[in-house]
């Protein structure tokens, strides 16, 4: 029943399948972690500068975003680095694990590859065992290497125990989400559902922790991300979060093995119902088809963006009173130009929110290449459908998506902000400060179209551009990058409407560039072969 015969052979096979992907991810993660640490150590090399930084950390927005600050009375590089990096690195690990497990369990099953393995003299659970062992080993290796890497930097406040705990936190959280995904792989009967449910749980964990950290500590303890942050790496170095996380992982692992052993191959434990016999009229066009295919994802994103906006908005009230009390902050943000500190903080967040809004828009436009690789674009183009119509549908949809995502973010931010603040904000002020980023979002989308038209094999380029933008705009200030670097990102070009003069020239230029990208993309798309 629970036989795992052949697990080791399969495990070696899985390692081989991941021989590029995982090492690349792992090295990048460790590299970025260490580089950021070094950068922080160089920037904040005096205890005065670190204490100043510590002051800025004690506010609800930072708490919501990164978790509660700790060790602030003596803010060392270690405490600073762990507070600012751990949560987001854990999320990256979680995403890697979700994709890894979904890929080797439900995706393989859906494609019929597990059936081939099962027809051989291999144990019923061999594939699941091998996947879970692979996930465990992957996390363990990354954990140890990260720990050793951080220790090897030789920074005073970062001792061996703390460094290993930092690594262990990454590994334990990663493995936890691997086991969570292995459960969802039994519930849903396809890879899409498995990944969707896992990401939803990750998102909920983040939100619960954010709300809990700001308002109620007990609430944070419901979220696995809340546990991990309890480790207070480099300050008190608590190991209980690692123990709890791994204990829960083992329980989840057992449950998923039992569920897997009981169900039929290819079946899911969540029920499915018969579908429609006829298509509704709204489906019957390339545009309608795109909407239909992306509907679930887009609705989730829309809800997510509203919540994200609202979660920032909800802390604005606390922020306002915090700023009033904090003289140092008043000096730092320099309120002389007649704008409230909250407004200034908002503008800083606006560009980040706009970049997050770009993710669903770029996903939407890149879907066309995904469809092409699966041979489905061919099905449409062999009908009375022109390439312009097809690419045009993708462009229109992603433009609408950009607009809706930005709008919902602004709406969420304004709604929650108004509820939490004593003096409400003007809706149009907030809204226009958000929507002014639309051309920047569209430039990324346009760049995506350009890539689809000219270099469909490297759709990753759009993501790299977006990640670069995020890196230079968000971390650029912290790491003191030269200004021209953030100028390459469209998000660095857009005027910060709430605090800056209304200079629309950059907006115009970004719009024109977006248009140019689109035109070149269309020309290329009409000339090239559709991939098999």
């Amino acid at each position: 029943m629970l036989s795992g015969r052949g697990t080791t052979t399969l495990l070696r096979f899985l390692v081989r399948r991941d021989r590029i992907r995982t090492p690349v991810f792992g090295s990048l993660l460790i590299l970025i972690t260490c580089m950021t640490t070094v950068a922080l150590a160089n920037l904040y090399n005096s205890s005065d500068s670190r204490q100043t930084m510590a002051e800025t950390m004690v506010n609800p927005a930072m708490t919501a975003m990164l978790g509660k600050g700790y060790g602030l009375e003596n803010y060392t590089i270690g405490a600073m680095m762990a507070h600012q990096m751990l949560l987001f690195t854990v999320i990256a690990m979680a995403i890697m694990n979700i994709l890894l497990v979904a890929r080797h369990t439900r995706a393989d099953e859906e494609e019929g590859r597990v059936e081939l393995i099962r027809s051989l003299p291999s144990g019923r659970l061999a594939n699941l065992y091998a996947t879970l062992i692979l996930a465990f080993l992957t996390n363990m290796v990354i954990a140890i290497l990260t720990g050793l890497g951080l220790y090897a930097l030789g920074i005073e406040s970062m001792n061996l125990e703390g460094s290993l705990l930092y690594g262990a936190a990454l590994g334990a959280a990663g493995f936890f989400f691997a086991t969570v995904t292995s459960i969802f792989a039994q519930l849903s009967e396809n890879a899409r559902g498995t990944i969707g449910l896992s990401f939803t749980l990750l998102g909920i964990s983040y939100l619960i922790r954010a709300v809990g950290d700001v308002s109620n500590d007990a609430l944070s303890m419901v979220s696995p991300l809340g546990w991990i942050l309890g480790s207070e790496v480099y300050v008190t170095n608590k190991w209980w979060p690692i123990v709890i996380t791994l204990t829960f992982s083992v329980l989840l692992m057992i449950v998923s093995c039992v569920l897997y052993s009981k169900r039929d191959l290819g079946a899911g434990l969540l029920p499915t119902k018969p579908g429609k016999r006829n298509a509704s009229a709204s489906l019957l066009s390339p545009f309608g088809l795109s909407i239909r295919l992306q509907r679930t994802g887009l609705i989730s994103w829309a809800v997510g963006m509203f919540i994200l906006g609202a979660s920032y908005g909800s802390v604005l009230g606390d922020l306002d009173s915090f700023f009033v009390e904090n003289e140092m902050f008043q000096q730092l943000l320099n309120p002389e130009n007649g704008h409230s500190l909250t407004e200034q903080f908002l503008t800083m967040m606006m560009s980040v929110l706009a970049m997050v809004s770009t993710i669903p828009a770029l996903m939407s436009v890149n879907k066309l290449v995904g469809e092409e690789r699966k041979g489905r674009v061919e099905l449409l183009l062999s009908k009375k459908v022109s390439r312009n119509r097809l690419l045009g549908s993708a462009l229109v949809l992603s433009t609408i998506v950009s607009f809706i995502m930005l709008s919902l973010t602004a709406l969420g931010l304004w709604t929650a902000g108004n509820l939490s603040m004593e003096n409400g904000m003007d809706f149009w002020n907030v809204y226009s400060a958000a929507i002014v980023y639309l051309p920047a979002v569209l430039l990324i989308v346009g760049f995506g179209i350009l890539i689809i038209g000219l270099l469909p094999r490297v759709t990753i380029a759009g993501w790299i551009y977006l990640m670069f933008s995020f890196f230079v705009v968000y971390l650029g200030g912290l790491l003191e990058f030269p200004e021209w670097l953030s100028g390459i990102s469209p998000f660095g070009q857009i005027p910060e409407l709430l605090v800056e003069k209304r200079n629309y020239l950059p907006v115009f230029i970004v719009t024109v560039l977006a248009g140019l990208c689109v035109v070149v993309g269309f020309v290329g798309y009409n000339k090239r072969d559709i991939q098999a």
């Binding site: 016999r277 006829n278 239909r292 489905r376 061919e378 099905l379 009375k384 000339k527």
Partner: protein, 304 residues
């Protein structure tokens, strides 16, 4: 009147030459069989016909229009079934059929229902649950439910059971009776033999044989097994005899169909004791081409 006119088409993917000077002509009201081993260039040719990829050289015309430039207006009159039907996992078969027929233009609801019944397709199931054969049924129903003038079918029956294959053959013959043209790429030679008026054989990107079925039939050989009272002379020297083998006093060999008369006369002079013959079929001919036999062929020999 020719519906498809392919002249000297070459297609390169980087340095690899997928098609090398392919010619093909499909006339109105005819079923054209397009055969060749895997990787010979069948699907590449078909994708060029559909304007999905562009020929590196040569001209491709369908209904007298350029297949690349005027793809969209050509597609109004084309129904296409790919060999590997990849559908959207979260749509139902019924929804996909509606989408395809709508995108092609003319919708005939009654015909759709009739075809779904004939192909025994449950349209309420999500595509992710369909087997290969069922996905092909979705593509076939949507193809035959539309009033196309040209059907391009790329190995459409590779996943169908024999009953469904027969339904498919009926549909092709109905289309032919209605004066439509069909380009049928297939590995199932009995199917080609039964349905096609003309056949083209492609290998390694070159058309190595093409002609009507009766023309090709001349190229076929009959298998004979003979035992004679008297010892035969050197049978292998007789014109038209191939692959001679001796089995326990009997001889088995192949005879070119048009040389059969002469060979039988020769054999009977030795007093025939036993004679078994297998009917001439195209399979052996195709096999010879598939395997790349370099024996001289009477026409279309370009593959030396």
């Amino acid at each position: 009147m020719s519906i498809i006119e392919v002249k000297n088409v070459t297609k390169q993917f980087g340095k690899f030459t997928a098609l090398d000077g392919v010619d093909m002509q499909v006339n109105k009201g005819e079923v054209y069989g397009f055969i060749g081993p895997n990787g010979a260039g069948k699907s590449t040719t078909i994708r060029i016909l559909l304007g999905i990829i562009k020929a590196s050289k040569g001209s491709v015309q369908i209904f007298g229009k350029d297949a690349w430039q005027e793809a969209v207006s050509i597609h109004e009159r084309i129904a296409y079934v790919p060999g590997d039907v990849n559908l959207w996992p979260n749509l139902t078969g019924g929804e996909v059929i509606d989408l395809f027929t709508k995108l092609r233009g003319k919708v005939d609801k009654g015909r759709r229902e009739e075809l779904m019944e004939r192909f025994e397709l449950d349209p309420t199931k999500k595509c992710r649950t369909y087997s290969k054969g069922n996905r092909q049924k979705v593509a076939l129903v949507s193809a035959f439910a539309s009033e196309a003038d040209l059907y391009i079918l790329d190995e459409p029956t590779s996943g169908l059971d024999p009953l469904m294959e027969r339904v498919f053959q009926e549909c092709v013959l109905e289309a032919k009776d209605a004066g439509k043209s069909v380009l049928l790429s297939s590995h199932i030679l009995s199917e080609v033999e039964r349905l096609c008026d003309r056949v083209g054989i492609i290998r390694q990107g070159k058309m190595i044989e093409s002609g009507s079925m009766s023309e090709l039939r001349h190229l076929t050989r009959t298998n004979l097994l003979v035992q004679t009272k008297q010892t035969m002379g050197d049978l292998g020297k007789i014109e038209g005899v191939h692959d001679l083998e001796e089995k326990e006093g009997a001889f088995s060999f192949q005879v070119d169909s048009e040389k059969l008369d002469g060979v039988i006369r020769y054999l009977s002079s030795f007093g025939i004791e036993k004679l078994e013959s297998a009917p001439p079929n195209l399979e052996d001919l195709f096999m010879r081409h598939y395997e790349g036999d370099r024996e001289p062929m009477r026409e279309g020999e370009q593959d030396a």
